[in-house]
Each structure stands twice: as C-alpha cells, then as structure tokens.
Symmetry: C5
Subunit: 316 residues, 5 copies
C-alpha cells in the first residue's frame, strides 16, 4: 500500500495559556506557562476485546514516540514557530484508550516573540499576541483541527498590567524552505490598565503645571523663569523614564507627542516671561499688565488645547 495514498492524519489541537509570566515590550516577547493537548486516532493502537490491557494506557511522551517510530506509525511532531530560547517541559505524557484514541498532554514554560507590537498610541495602545504551533510534517501527512474548548486563556494568568481579551484560535498553513505545513494559531489582544500612567505621569505633570500656573498670579517674572526652567528639567527626566519602558522606536508615540508638547509649551512660557521681564525693565508697565492678564488664562488654555489635540491624535 503506497504511503502517498493515505489521507492526512487529523490531529485536534488545544492550547491553553495557564499563566503569563511576563510581557516584555522592550524585547517584544511574552512568557507563558501553557498546556498543549493533541488528539488523534491511531487504529493500530486499538486493543482487541480479548487483550488484557487497562482501558487507559499512560506513556511517557519519549517512550511513546519511540514506540510509534518502531511500529512505523505517524507522530504529529510539532514546533512553536515564534518561540524564543528553550521550552521547559514540566510534564509530557500520552494516554491511549482501547479504541486507539490518542491524547498527548504537555505542560511547559516558554517565551514567545510578539512581533506585532505597535506603540503609536502608547499608552492607549491595543496589542496583539499569538502563539504559532506548526507541524514538522507537510499538509499531505498532517491536518490540524482547532479544539476551541481546550484553547484560550486561563482565569489566573497572574498578569496585572494588561487586560487580555479577544482570545481566538485558527488553523492555517505555514510555508518554510518550500514545504507547507499545517499551523495552529492562538491569538489574544491586550490593552493596558491606565492607572499607572495616570498616577505616576499624568497627575504629577498636571500638579506641576498647576503649581507653575499659580505663580502667574504673582508679578515675579524671575521666579516664573526659575520654575519653568525647573519644570523643563523635570519633564526631561520624565521623558527618559518613559523612554526606558519602550524599545528605541523608529516612530513617535502618543506619549512622545504629549511630552514634546509639554516641552514646547514650557519653553514658550520661559520665552514669554523673559520678554515680560525685559519689558518691565524698560518700564512698559501698562503693556505688561495687559499681557499678564492674558497670560493667566492663556497658559492653562494652551495646555488644555494641547491635551485635546493629543487626545484627538489618539483616535487617528
């Protein structure tokens, strides 16, 4: 019986992420503890009614693969396409019932590449993550079938920073070095909890801006210049702190725009106050008073306007 004539072996694939140990946006990868189940039927492993074997036979995976190899049966060898480094298997075993239904179970820790990171709307961004399991045998030998019940994310991921949702799984194919193999993809989406960015960045920046606004009610231009210069340094420090969160991107994020806007406005405030002080020295008090009355309201409006623009940009 020629091997080519055989229909491909139909293998059910279930992949469940039990824990998310890390999401590293600088390295663009994520670590998981996950469970993989493969399910297929191998009639040659069915027992005859007269055989004295337990209804459920348990094998270590390596022993089972050796047994299949010896009996020239097909083993759905597989690999994770977007894996990084090593897979640490916690356990790997196979259960076979009397009809020859084979179930392969594995539990492992691994890190996967997340190449789809797009930080344009950071920190209001939505990111896509996936795990891509490919067979090592071509589509003519193996056919994948998604077991959606056994796939997805568990309840206790242990991930605090991201809100993970929109889990999905699909079957596709992957072509590498000219060979087309079946491919199972588990995907999910993540949005950030904004609490951190509000408490650590937004609130401090707003309080600093408010405090420097308060000084507009005093006619002390020197103090205003000092405070604004100081704020500038502070915003530069913020800028570096935020930069350490992200890889060194080739594009501007929403957060960058926000920080650049605070830079620009603060720089303008220094300029305006230098000009006012110069005017003061030249004795143009009436002009200064008029300017000052404008400044007291222009300053917050400038920020509110800038903030609104940044907000608008986040929807582009």
């Amino acid at each position: 019986m020629p091997a080519v004539a055989k229909a491909p072996l139909e293998v059910g694939v279930g992949l469940r992420v039990d824990q998310i140990t890390s999401i590293n946006q600088k390295k663009e990868n994520f670590g998981v503890v996950a469970s993989l189940m493969l399910e297929w039927k191998e009639p040659q492993l069915a027992t005859r009614p007269d055989e004295d074997v337990p209804p459920q036979r348990i094998y270590k995976a390596s022993d089972f693969v050796n047994m299949l190899t010896e009996r020239k049966l097909l083993w759905p060898a597989h690999s994770f396409y977007n894996l990084q480094g090593r897979v640490d298997y916690q356990n790997q075993f196979v259960a076979v019932d009397s009809q020859g239904n084979v179930k392969y179970f594995a539990r492992f820790s691994a890190a996967f590449q997340a190449p789809d990171f797009d930080f344009t709307h950071f920190p209001l961004d939505t990111q896509n993550f996936h795990i891509k399991l490919i067979a090592l045998l071509p589509t003519s030998d193996i056919k994948f079938k998604a077991m959606t019940d056994s796939s997805g994310l568990s309840e206790e991921l242990g991930e605090e920073e991201w809100i993970l949702a929109h889990t999905g799984s699909k079957i596709t194919t992957h072509t590498s070095f000219g060979i087309t193999v079946p491919c199972f993809i588990l995907s999910f989406q993540g949005k950030r909890h904004l609490n951190y960015y509000i408490v650590r960045i937004l609130v401090p920046v707003i309080i600093i801006i408010l405090v420097s606004w308060f000084t507009f009610f005093l006619k002390d231009y020197g103090k205003r210049i000092d405070l604004s210069s100081g704020n500038l340094l502070l915003f530069i420090a913020f800028n570096f702190t935020i930069a350490n969160d992200l890889p060194r991107l080739g594009y501007i994020t929403l957060m960058d725009t926000f920080m650049m806007a605070t830079f620009g406005i603060t720089g303008l405030v220094v300029l305006a106050n230098v000009w006012l002080r110069r005017a003061q020295r030249h004795g143009r008090e009436a002009f200064i008073d008029r300017m000052d009355d404008i400044g007291v309201w222009a300053y917050p409006l400038l920020y509110i306007g800038g903030g609104f623009l940044v907000f608008l940009m986040s929807y582009l």
Copy 2:
C-alpha cells in the same frame, strides 16, 4: 482481573518548604527549596521472609519508576500546577521496606506563581501563597492523603521581608481538559515587616513636612513657595521609587492614596502661599496675619486629618 475494579492507590503527601529564596511581587511568584515526600503501600514490593534483601531498599527515583513500569505497577506521577520554569532536583530517591511500604523523597528548587497578590492595602497588605501539587492520573487511580506532620514551613526560611504564618494543607481535586485528578495544596500567608516603610518612607516624609511647616513661622512667602515646590518634586521621586516595587496595577493602593494626598496638600499649600503673597503685594496685611495664624495650625492638621483618613481606609 479488570483494572477498573481496583480501588484508587492511597498516596500520603508531605511537602515542606525548607527555604524561601525570593518573593517577587512584581512578577507575582516566589522561589523555594522544598522537600516532597510521597508514601504508599505496594504489596507486590513486599519481600518474602526467606528472601535475602536488606530491610530498607534504596533506589534512584528514575530506576524505581522504570522498575514499576516493567512490573506494570502504578507510579503516582505528579506535577506542580503553579510551577514557573524548571524544577531543579537536588536528589530524588525511593526507600522500600520489607512490607512494601514505599517512600519517595525529593528535594528541589523551583519558582511558583502567586496569582493571589492583592496590593489594595499595600504596604499593610496580607498575601496568600500556595503550592499546588496535582497527580497526573485521575481520581479513579490515585487518592491523595495530606501528611500534615511532614508539611509546612521550616524554621530557617531565610526570608527577611515577610512574616509568614497560617500554614495549611488540604486535599482537593483539579479538572483540566475534562480529566479530574487529585490535588494537594500547601498554603501560607505573609504580612510585611513595616520597618522598611517607616524608616525609608514615612520618617523622611514626616521630617520634610515638618521642615516645610517650620517655614510657616516666617513671613517669607517666596521661601515657602520654593520649599513646597521642592517637596512636590521630592514626593514625585518617592512616587516613582515606590512604583518600581509593584507591578503596574489596575487599581489604587493605600500607598498611592497616601502619596496622592501629600501631592494634593503640598499643591494646596503652594496655592495658599501664592494667594497670601499676592495679598501682601496689595497691602492687605491684617488679612494676611489672620490667615497666617490659621495656616500655622491648619497645615499640620490637614496632614494629620489626611493621615487619619488613609489609616481608616486601610481597614476597609
């Protein structure tokens, strides 16, 4: 004799944590060096009186498993459900006595997920930790029995930051991919030593607040504004230092509330002093003096009141 008729193998489980190598609240895991003992009776391994074997036979675990597999005997294969990464076994061996009582001993280093972290009351929080051992065979084959004497935490954990107590162990079941297996859970609770938070955060913050209070006894509003703005920056630096201790949470901790309160009060103080200085420039001295007399007492009361509120919140 059909296999299904057999009663499940009763396996005593003892798990003792010898060392806690780390508690990582950002990654929400903890590392331990622990000892596991499994105990069961296998009559087929009992010796006949005429056999010349030592009363206590010692096997390497891997040799013993192979021997059981060959003799088609049950091995209580197990796995740690909340394990992260790899288990490093320091030793693994089995002792069998002449009645067929089997004792499996293992000593290992491993990291476990602690998904129950709740930082709402941080740093006055109480956290729950557990290690979950599951069998790889269903409840029909294996039954766990907790050996409470051999379970718990050792005396020399080498953990300085947490006060660990309320150790407990229980037997339950775990269902995964539709299969129900027995499950042993060792759990314990941790509270923080507060010394660090008092010496590094509370005392400095109180001294800074006191020092800026002292300036209220001077009628120098400029200096007060400078000092308050400086304090603001300092509190922002504190805020970031504290943020690095915790994962980026989706909720506000007690510490966050405390820091936000100091932000808010310090901002109000700047506002009040700007207002007073403005009044001073407009020559309203009597009003200022009255305000100042109030401020000297309102300032510490504001903090004491805020501190009391934060304290109350820690009991919600």
Copy 3:
C-alpha cells in the same frame, strides 16, 4: 577504494534569521532565532524501486547521525564560529527522498559575537553583523554551496531599533590549528532609527540651549551664570546616560564630540558672563551693552557653528 580519492561532498547551506531577539552593543553580540538547512546527495541512501519505503523518510537528527556513522557515511558536522554560549535547538530533523537527496533542518536560538562594531560615527553609524558557519571536516572532505534563496533575514524580525539591510551570504574557508575547513558567512548591515536620539537627546538639548539663550535678553548676569552652571550639570548627566549605552571605548564617538562641544560652549558662556558682571561692577556699562548685543547673536551662532562642524565630522 582509498578514501583520499573521493571528491568532497557538496553541501548546500541555507541560513535564515527568523527573529532578532537582541542586539547588545555593549557586549558586542546579537541574539537570533534562526533556521538552518543543509542539503546534499547520498546515493547510498537512495531506495531501490522495489523497496517499500515512504517517498520521504523523516529522521531525528541524532538518529540520522548514528545511522550514517554505522554505515560509515559522511555527515557534514558543523559549528558556528562566532557563537557565544549555547545553541538551544528547537527542532533538528532530516528528510531523505528516494533518490538519496538529504535535507537537514534545524531551528535554534543562539547569540553570536559581532566583533565589527565601530562607534566612531555613533549614533549615525552603520554596523556589520555576520553569522559564520564552519564545517568540522577539511575542504578535502566537504565543499559548501550557498543556497541564497533559503538564506537571509525574515520579515518579522521583531527588531525596532535598527534598520537591517544589505543581507548577503558567501562561501569562504577558515583555518584553525592548521586545518582548513569550508565556511559559510551570512552577513547584514544595520543603521539606527534616529528617532530616539532626536526625541530624547537632541530636542531636550536644543530647548535647554534656547532657554538659556532667552536669558541673554535680560541684563541679569547672575541668573545667566546660574542657568549655565545648571546646564553644565545637566549635560554631564546626559553624558553619563549616553555612556551607559556603549562599551567603554578607546576612542571618541561623534556623540562624545557633540557633548564635549556643549560642555565647552557652556563653560565659555559662564566665563563670558562672569567677565561681563565684573565689568558691570566696575561700571563699564557702555562696553557691556556692546558686548551684550554681540553675545545675543554670538551664542546661537556658536552652537550652530559647532553643530555644523559635528555634522561635517560625521562624514569623515
């Protein structure tokens, strides 16, 4: 039949970088997930028409090597010359067809040395990276042939900081301990996205310089001295931040020149203002006014001139 008479085994080599997990310029290495394909013909593995074997036989690499060793056939043993640490193989297998065409596939994670880093033009530098695969058998036994179709960089490298291009592969030889072996080199070039350096370094430095320029429009030399001294400290902090990005080099980078120029100019500005203030104290107001009018324009011109020189140097 003497072994020396045999023509060398011709082995096609394809090496594709699927992911770049890191480019570490301090350690001068880079991490990849890559796929290696070796292709050669072993007539002794061809099947006779009457044999009942599948058209495509799949082997684990280790089993295949053992089989070749037993049958005294040549295995193109190889090694990565610029590897650092360990190769983590994700999968390694061999497919043999009925004509005896052998295809070896391996997918692995590894770190490779990048000894060609030259930071003279940092951050406008172009760097060369390569992976060097050497055979462990001499050129008399093995001959490499580059499979350019199967070599190169994939689309989803997951690398954000560098623009990688100019991929090439070539066959050469490598001599070590007096033995000459065939060698396959995959090389590529990287240029940096400049966004990071513009947003985090250039823009802040320009705003700071502008702000201290604004103070030139005030006749307050004390304030100018304070601001310039402050800027000096800031530039020193920048200097250290940048230093942490690079190894401790034995030469000056373009960025160093830029930072040293800002140091020098800022130092000169302090000197000039101290001199002006001294003149002011001696009552030489006319002289000061003339100097000041010059300073207001000389200051930005000094920076623009310096910037232009640095720009020119980047083309040397």
Copy 4:
C-alpha cells in the same frame, strides 16, 4: 549474613572552598567553587596479589556508582542541605587503590543559603556562613569523619568585600521526615572591610556636616535653612542608597540609627534657625547673638555626641 548486623561505613569528608564567587546579603546566599573529597574503605574492591590491575584505578563517578549498585555495595550518597538551585559539577571521579581504599573527588559550582545573617550592627557586623553536607542514608549505615586537613578556605577566594576567617568543620546529625542521617558542616565567619563605608558614606556625610557648620559663622539664617533642607534631601538619598544594599529587614540596623540621627539633628537645625530668624524679625538681636554663639559650638557637639552614642550602641 543479615545486613542489619553491619557496622556503619566510616566515610572521611573533606570540603574545601576554592573560590567565593559572590556573597549576596539581599538574597542571603553565597556562591562557591568548592572541592569535595570522600574517603572510605571497601575491602571488596581490593585486588588479589595475582590480579593484573594498575595500583590506582580511576573511574567516572557515575560508572563507579553503577558498579557499586550492581555489586550491592554501599555508596555514600549525599546532598547539600542548604543548597539553592543546581550544582554544576566540573568533574567527579573516583580512585581506588589495591587495598580497596576509595577516594571520591568532585569539583563544583553552587550557591548556598546563609540564613544566619544578622544586620543589627551593620556595617560593623560579623556574619556566619556554612555549608551543610548530609548523607542520604541513616546513621546506622553511614558514619561521617571530618578530614580537617582537606577542609577549609583556599588562599585565592577572589572575595574583596569580606574578611573571612574562623573556618571550622564539625560532624553532627540531621533529622528530616523522621530519619536521622550523618551531617558534615563547614563553617566560616566574615567581617566587612570598612573602607567602602568610610570613603563613600562617612567622609561625604562629615564634609557635608562641616560645610553646613561653616555657615554658622555667617548671620545669614536664610542660607542656613536652605543648606540644612538641602542636606536633608541628600541624607534621604543616602538612606535609599544604603537601603538597596540590604534586604527589607524587620529591625533597625546601626546604619539606620546613624542615618536617623543625622535626619533628626538636621531637622532640629532647621527648626533652630527658623526660630532665630523669627527672633531677628522681631528685633531681639542680643538674644540672637547669645544663641548664635551657643549654636556654633552646640552644632558640632550635637553630632559628636550622636556619633558617640551610635558608636556605643555598636557594642551592645
């Protein structure tokens, strides 16, 4: 011959620490490269005079253990009780002479727990370290004997921070899960080189205190308040730097007392100067002058007294 009648096997234990790769006081562990020698007599391995074997037979440890197991001879299986993580064996071999004297040699890298850290007198503290080797067989089977000549610390430990001395070894027993096994303990003590704490902490703190003392010779209370507030911030920064060196303890160290004392004194200085300035504004010049004359001497005496108290406390 029943096995129980046998006297326990007497095993000589020599453990020499060749390198100390790290002492991590935050994790409370230390890393070593060490050499272990076990020595015992196995008459059954003696050679008969007519046998043609070399006088010294060398075995790989794993081969030797297998040989003993086959011949039902006792192998002194052992384990390190306070090990953390994995032992990396560099080599492990056994030499047997013609009388049956067996010598087991192993060289390994490993990390051990140091649970006895007590930081009360930090940085004048003395710490105890130990390595605890336990047999895996009960005292009825194995008896340990300390080989003091072959135990201890080598000359070139490569440890710069600690002065290690008082090396000792002793034989004791260890009971775990109700089984008592022999136990060998190698212990040593460490004291810190104080150079770091003098050059990085004490000298800077003293210079800062001196500099703020100098300002007492000026009648500028505003400057004194500024400088003292600045010092306060600096001491807080020092406080955090020191905190990063230690685990988060549940008690106060000598260094904490020292830092808290500098906080307190500096806070008092601010208070005193605010009071003096207030007095100045109310025109009580004579009182101020008298106070100032006292302050100039009280300030250093306060610090010297505080320092002396801290010094005394270090002997409690």
Copy 5:
C-alpha cells in the same frame, strides 16, 4: 607488564582564546569563547598498512573516551582549575591518523576567575588574567607540553575596554588533596583604555572646577559658597558612580584619592569663602581684597598641586 614502569604520556596542550565575552571586575571573573587542542601519540591506535581505514578517523569525544576506556588506554582527562560555573561545549571531537597521532579539539564558552585583580592604581592599573588547565591524573601518568603556536589570544576578541597583551603560556604542576597533577597556564595582561575616564570623569570635573574658579573673579561670596556646596554634591554623586564600577575593596584606589582630594579642596574653598564673607561683614575690606587676589591664584594652584601629587602616587 606492570603499569608503574610506563613513562608518563606526553600531551601537547594548545589553548586559544577566540572571544572575550566579558571582563567583570566586580565579580573578578572573565568570560571567553576558547579553543583547546590536546595532542598525543597512542601507538595502539595506529593502523596496520593492510587495514582499510581512512587516513584521518574522526570521533565524537564521548565515543572516543568510551573506546579508550574499553581498550584500557589512557585518556588525558582534564579540568579548568579557575573555572566558574559550567563549560558550554560547542563541539568536541577527536581526529586520529594512521600513525596513532591523536588530536582532541574542543570549542567552548566559559567564565574564569581572575583573582589577581589589584585596583590600587585604578584606572591606571594593569591586571593579570589566566586560565589554568589541570590534568586529573598525576604527573606520573601524564606530562604536559605547551604548544605555543596554538596558544594565545585571537585577533577579534570583541573586547573594547581593555588593551590585552603579554600573552604567555607555561607548564607547571598543581597539588590538591596531596596529589600532584600537571598544569598548563595561559596568562595575559590588560591595561584600560583611558578615554572613558577622561571623557566621563576628568573633563567634567575640570570644567566644574574651572567654572567655580571663574566665580572667584566676582566679589560675591554667597554665590561662591552656593557653587562650591553644589560641586560637593556633584562630586559625591561622581564618587558613587565610580564606586559601582568596583567591588567593595579593603583599600584606597588612585581614583579614591583623586575624589577625596576634590572633596577636601572644595570643602576648604567653602571654609575660605565663609571666612571672607564674615570678614566682609566686619568691614575688613583691605584684608579681603588681599586675600581675594591670593585666592584667585591659590585655587587653581591647589588643584594643580593636588593633581600632581595624585599623578606621582600612581607611580608608587
């Protein structure tokens, strides 16, 4: 034939460092990728003229060792004495020619202890590094012979911070636990590129000193005190930055002396200016003017003198 009569096996040793992956002066170790060649003659592996074997037989090292063990031939087992952690072998194989000349090749990544670090003249220090290969068999069985042609450092070490030279190799013996084994030592020396210390430390310190010198030309003692106090803080920050580069030593380095000198001089400058200001308040203008004229030149001379002393000390 008694084994003792045999002359020791003469083994040629060649060790070439291909890459230096790190030099960690805090941990006092260095990482390398290196190639080891051992060469000896085993007449029993020579082929008879009539045998049909290839002129060059290639073996995996493990297979070869097993073969030697079976045929009771000597294998020059070896180990690295100053190794830390694990050796990661990239490849290990053996080539045997028809005369029985055996060549063992290994390529590996490893970290070695560098216990000879002496930082007294840091950063003008010269450090010694070595790799110590010891045989596991005594000098009566094995004799080492240095193959100087095959030993040394490669051209592309990938090390930027150090200038490595004075490579040498020598044969000696090592005695451990009373057994004397042959020992091969590869040693080399390293000096630092000084560019980093000039650009990041020396130039900033000199510019800061110059800028504070400029203020000596103004009669503003308050500003001088502020600037000097500020410099003191900056030097303390520098001090900590430098401290992080080195282990916590029990002695003073040249760099420490330099930093302490800048502390001391800056402290004196504050003292002098406080004294001058006090004199100013007491109206001793003539005295101040004379002092000031001296100070303007004494200040740089103090630094130049101090610098010269530090320079002299570097030759002690």
